[in-house]
Amino acid sequence: MNRFQYILRRLILSVIVLFGVVTITFVVARLIPSDPARMMVGPRAKAEQVARMREEMGLDRPLHEQFIQYVGSLLRFDFGVSFSNRLEISTQLKQFLPATLELVFISVFLAVIIGIPLGVITSARPNSWLDQIIRVVTISGVSVPTFFLALILQIIFFQQLGWLPLAGRLSRDIVLYNPVEVQTGFYLIDTLITGNWPAFGSALVHVILPALTLAVYPISLVARVTRASMLEVLSENFIRSARASGLPEWMILSQLALKNAVSPALTLVALSAAYSITGAFLVETVFVWPGIGQFAFTAVESVDFPVILAITLVVTISYILINLLVDVIQAMLDPRVTLD
C-alpha cells in the first residue's frame, strides 16, 4: 500500500481512537459517585435548586442523549464549568497551557540534544566502563520519582546553595515592578520580545529547576532507547560490510547508522513529549508552576471532576494528534511503513 493509503487509514484509525477516548471519558464521568448537579449548586442548596440544575445539565435525559450533548459541547470546545471556582474550564485551560508547554518544550529539547548523543556514544562501545557508568546513570534517571527529585533539587539549590528560587515562574518583585506583557504566554519569549530584561532573568532563573527535573526522565529514556536501536542497526550486515571496506568508525556511526535511526528519533520526540506531559503534573505541583498540572492538582484536592475529565481529554487528544503527526511525517520520509 502506498503512503497516501497509509496516511488515510491512519487518519481513520485516529478518528476511531478519538471516539473511543471520548466514550471512555464519558463512562468515567458517569462513574462518579456523587451527584454532579448537587456539586454544582453546593452543599447547602435546596432540593428544587438541585432538580433545576439537573435539568439544566441535562442529567435527567437518557444516556445516549447525554452522550450526544457531551460530544456536541466538546466540538465547541466547551468543557463545562469547574465545580470549585465556577469559571469556564476552557478559558482556564487556555490560561494555564503555555506555562506547561514551556516546560514540555524545554524538556523535549533537552531530551533530544542530550539523550540521543548519549545513546549513540554508548552504543559505539557496548559494555565498556563508560557504557556501564552511563547505563547506571540512565537507569537511575528512569527510576527516580519525579516529585522526589524535585524536592531534593529544591533542598540543594534553594535551601543549601541559595542559587535558584523555590517556586513559581517569576519573583514577586518582578510581578510588581516589571510585569510581563503577555504575548505568547511563554515568558521567556515574551520578555525577550518586549525587552524586559529583569523579567527575562527572573523567568530564566525560575524555569531552570522545573525544566531540568522534568527533563531527567525523558533524557534517560531517550538515551536508552537510542542505544538499543543503534545497537540493532550496528549489528546489521550492511554496517559490517562498511566496516570491512575500511570506512572510519565515526563515519559509519554518524552517517550510516544514525540515518537509519532518524525515523525512530521522531518517535522518540513523541515519546519524550508524552512522558514530559505526564511528568509535568508532578513537577508543577512541587514547584507551584501555574500550568495545567498544577491546575489538575488543585482539582484533585477539591475533587473537581469536570476539570480532571477535561484535562484528561485535552491531553489525550493532544497525544493522539502528536502521534498521528509523527506517523504521517515518518510515512512521508520512509516509504516502507506498514500499518502494524
Binding site: I24, V28, L31, S143, P145, I277
Partner: protein, 299 residues
C-alpha cells in the same frame, strides 16, 4: 488449571536455569546488587511486624510526644509529624509498594495476555476490535486516566490498582498478538483442532502457555515503573488514605516540612527510588541477556 500453571512457571524456571545463576551474577554485578536490594525489600515487607522497632507506629498509631525527632539511634530515620518512627513506617510501606507494583503488572497480564492471544488466534473482526480497544486505552497518558478513575472510585488499594492496570494491559496485548499469530499456524494447533477440541480450550491450553514466556519476562521488567506510577498517584493525594504507610503519601506529607524536618520526606523518597532502581536494573540485565544484539557481545 494447576497443571497449566505448573507448565508455565516450570518453563520460565527452565529458561533462567539455563543461565547458570552464579555465573550470571559474577558477570553482572549490578544485577546482583539489584537482586539483593529486592530481596531486602521483600524481607522487610514480609517481616515488617517483626523487624520494625515500633510496629504499631509503623501501622499508624501516633505518638505526638515524639513529633519530629531527627534520625538517631532510637529512631533510625527520625519521626514524622505524628511522632511515628519513620523506619517502621517505611517497612510497612514496603508492603504496599511491592504489592502495588506486582499486582498492577499481574492484573495487566491477566487482562492483556488472553486478549492478545484471542486477537491473534481468531483474527478478523475480533482482532480488529480488540486492537482498536487497545489503541484507545494506549492513547491515554497513564497517570491521567489513573487519576480520573481513582477520583471516581475513591481512595483504596483496589481503586488504585484498577486505575493503573487499566492503562497497563494494552502493552501486553500488543506483545501477545503477533506471538499468537505465529503459534496459530503451528501444526500442534491443527492437531488439537482435528481432535475436536474447541477454540477456547486451544487458546488456554496451547496458545497462551506457548506465548506467555516472553510476555511474562517483559512484564516483570516493568514492576519498577509500576511502583513509580503508584507512588506518583499517592503523591497527588489519591493513594491509600492515612494512616496507611504509603511511601508516596509520606513524601507528600513530608513535603511541607522539607526544609526543617528533611528526614520526613527524604527517606520514603529514597525508598521509592531504591526499590524502583533495583527492579529496573534487574529488568535491564534481563533485557541485555535475552537480547540477541547485545548478549553475544558480552566478554
Amino acid at each position: 488449571m494447576a497443571s497449566i500453571g505448573k507448565r508455565w512457571f516450570g518453563d520460565i524456571a527452565g529458561k533462567l536455569e539455563g543461565k547458570k545463576p552464579l555465573k550470571f551474577f559474577r558477570r553482572d554485578p549490578l544485577a546482583a546488587i539489584a537482586v539483593l536490594i529486592i530481596l531486602a525489600v521483600f524481607i522487610g515487607a514480609i517481616f515488617a511486624p517483626m523487624i520494625a522497632p515500633y510496629p504499631d507506629q509503623g501501622a499508624g498509631i501516633p505518638v505526638i510526644a515524639n513529633k519530629f525527632k531527627p534520625p538517631s539511634r532510637e529512631f533510625l530515620m527520625g519521626t514524622d509529624y505524628l511522632g511515628r518512627d519513620i523506619f517502621s513506617r517505611i517497612l510497612y510501606g514496603a508492603r504496599i509498594s511491592l504489592a502495588m507494583g506486582v499486582s498492577i503488572v499481574a492484573l495487566g497480564l491477566i487482562i492483556g495476555l488472553p486478549l492478545g492471544a484471542i486477537a491473534g488466534y481468531f483474527g478478523g473482526w475480533t482482532d480488529e476490535f480488540i486492537m482498536r480497544l487497545t489503541d484507545v486505552f494506549l492513547a491515554f497518558p497513564p497517570l491521567l486516566l489513573a487519576i480520573a478513575v481513582s477520583l471516581s472510585l475513591g481512595r483504596s488499594f483496589t481503586s488504585n490498582l484498577i486505575a493503573i492496570s487499566v492503562t497497563w494491559w494494552p502493552w501486553y496485548t500488543r506483545m501477545a498478538r503477533p506471538l499468537a499469530l505465529s503459534i496459530r499456524e503451528r501444526q500442534y494447533i491443527d492437531a488439537a483442532k482435528s481432535m475436536g477440541i474447541n477454540d477456547w480450550v486451544i487458546i488456554i491450553r496451547h496458545v497462551i502457555p506457548n506465548i506467555a514466556g516472553p510476555v511474562l519476562v517483559e512484564a516483570t521488567t516493568e514492576i519498577g515503573l509500576a511502583i513509580l506510577t503508584a507512588a506518583g498517584l499517592s503523591f497527588i493525594g489519591l493513594g491509600m488514605p492515612p494512616p496507611a504507610a504509603d511511601w508516596g503519601e509520606m513524601v507528600a506529607s513530608g513535603r511541607l516540612y522539607i526544609f526543617q524536618q528533611w528526614w520526613f520526606a527524604t527517606f520514603p523518597g529514597l525508598a521509592i527510588l531504591l526499590t524502583a532502581l533495583a527492579f529496573n536494573l534487574l529488568g535491564d540485565s534481563v533485557h541485555e541477556h535475552t537480547n540477541p544484539y547485545t548478549s553475544g557481545k558480552r566478554e
